[in-house]
């Protein structure tokens, strides 16, 4: 079966820095990939090349067999590959509902009634339907989940999550992780960049470990966490060993 997403020897430079160095990765439909690695390893950049926010200088990216390059209509690709950001970036001048409906109505030109129905379903599932007429700054929590709903309402095939819990208060993190876990269970293709190792272990089909612009290791979660093959991976995990130990003890 052709992979849904395929990166072949992708390279990217920021000025003199080679941020992605001949990255090759294959993602099947329905897979949940979690990308781990120390800061600066290029994992966010990797994500951002997939929806065209970062252009690449070398290699090729294929989505559903089609090459993504300078001639690509990124507007159409982005309707099928959704993204959620660390700082959620809800549009402050629009209400929650308007934020969610903007894409479906303006970009996909869907019927308002139908889009509204989907928005209601999704917002109700995260318990924020009653707040739909509020502006983002009036909310005391839940913005990131709304950002996820906003992306989901476009009915994408793939969802990219770029450190979506890193900027949240600890109490909010769980709620967001649960939403993502539900998505994973529904069969959607996810690429997740995160620091939440326990979560990664629980939800991923495959762990991709990066360092210095390279993919050093790819493995199933239990294999990666229990028996990392590369030195760097071991060092990386060692930094979290304390947390790992606690979590393992708790689940025993």
């Amino acid at each position: 079966m052709t992979p849904l997403l395929e990166l072949g020897s992708v390279s990217k430079q920021f000025g003199p820095n080679l941020v992605l160095d001949r990255i090759s990765l294959s993602v099947r439909a329905g897979e949940v990939i979690v990308i781990l690695g120390p800061s600066g390893c290029g994992k966010s950049t990797l994500l951002r090349t997939l929806n065209g926010l970062e252009p690449i200088q070398g290699g090729e990216i294929r989505f559903d067999g089609v090459l993504l390059d300078g001639a690509t209509d990124w507007q159409r690709v982005r309707q099928r590959i959704g993204m959620v950001f660390q700082s959620y970036h809800l549009f402050p001048n629009l209400t929650v509902l308007e934020n969610v409906l903007l894409g479906p109505l303006q970009v996909q030109k869907r019927e308002r009634a139908e889009a509204l129905l989907q928005a209601e379903q999704l917002l109700t599932r995260i318990g924020l339907w009653e707040r739909r007429h509020d502006y983002p700054r009036q909310l005391s929590g839940g913005q990131q989940r709304i950002a996820i709903v906003r992306a989901l309402c476009m009915n994408p095939q793939v969802m990219l999550f770029d450190e979506v819990t890193a900027a949240l208060d600890p109490e909010m993190v769980q709620e967001v992780l649960e939403v993502i876990r539900d998505l994973a269970g529904s069969g959607m293709t996810l690429l997740i960049v995160t620091h939440e190792l326990a979560f990664a272990r629980a939800v991923a089909d495959r762990i991709v470990f990066m360092d210095g612009g390279h993919i050093l290791e790819q493995a199933a979660p239990h294999q990666f966490f229990d028996n990392p093959r590369s030195q760097r991976a071991r060092q990386f995990l060692a930094k979290f060993s304390y947390t790992n130990v606690i979590k393992r003890k708790e689940s025993a």
Binding site: L53, Y88, L90, N93, L102, R150, A151
Partner: protein, 220 residues
């Protein structure tokens, strides 16, 4: 020669009203076009390639460096002489004031767009919005909220600068005032009325700007 204040007023007001009409017509049209032009300038300055940005820069500098008065002269008197084109003084004034105003509004819009978190743009693009949709639904509404005080400032300056049109033959409100004063020597009364006129025109603008700021402030 008029004597009593009420007599002077009755004579002066109708004349001043005509002048005021000219001032307002020129100013409001110039403000309208300056706003439209300024938004276009701001968006182009953010999105455009190097050539576009270079041209905009040139346009900006020309209007910063050359006084409005000189522009009025050059366009009004120069067009017929150099190109055989004739433009009525009224429209010439509107054009020059609009071009000058647009360069200033444009810089404000550009600054406002610039100050928006880049993430807003990325989040919008990630949803599949086109550049036009992005500006229309996300970036410009937010930028506009920050723009009101400096733009209102530019508007009041357009209104005040409109009096330069006198030099290309437009009889606007200040000129009418001078015409009356030279005949009646009632300068205190006339300048008092002119003061009132400009205050009544500019103050509501300032109030509106504050109201808009508050209203949009609720959304951000």
């Amino acid at each position: 020669m008029a004597s009593s204040i009420s007599e002077q007023l009755t004579q002066a007001l109708p004349l001043l009203a005509v002048g005021a009409g000219q001032t307002l017509a020129i100013s409001l049209l110039a403000i309208l076009f300056a706003t439209l032009g300024g938004v276009a300038y701001g968006v182009l300055a953010q999105q455009g390639g190097r050539l576009v940005r270079g041209l905009l820069r040139l346009y900006l500098e020309l209007f910063r460096v050359v006084p409005v008065l000189v522009w009025l002269y050059l366009i009004f008197f120069g067009l017929p002489i150099f190109f055989g084109l004739d433009m009525p003084a009224f429209w010439c004034a509107v054009l020059v004031l609009a071009l000058w105003g647009a360069s200033e509004v444009g810089e404000v819009v550009r600054g406002g767009l610039n100050s928006l978190a880049r993430g807003q743009q990325e989040a919008g693009l990630a949803l599949g919005l086109s550049t036009w949709q992005l500006y229309r639904h996300v970036l410009l509404p937010q930028a506009l909220q920050r723009l009101t005080p400096p733009t209102i400032n530019i508007y009041t300056r357009i209104i005040k600068t409109s009096s330069l049109a006198v030099l290309i033959g437009v009889v606007e409100v200040i000129k009418v005032g001078q015409q009356i004063i030279e005949r009646t020597y009632g300068s205190l009364l006339i300048y008092g009325l002119l003061f009132l006129f400009f205050f009544l025109v500019c103050y509501p603008l300032s109030l509106a700007s504050r109201r808009l700021e508050q209203q949009w402030g609720n959304a951000v």
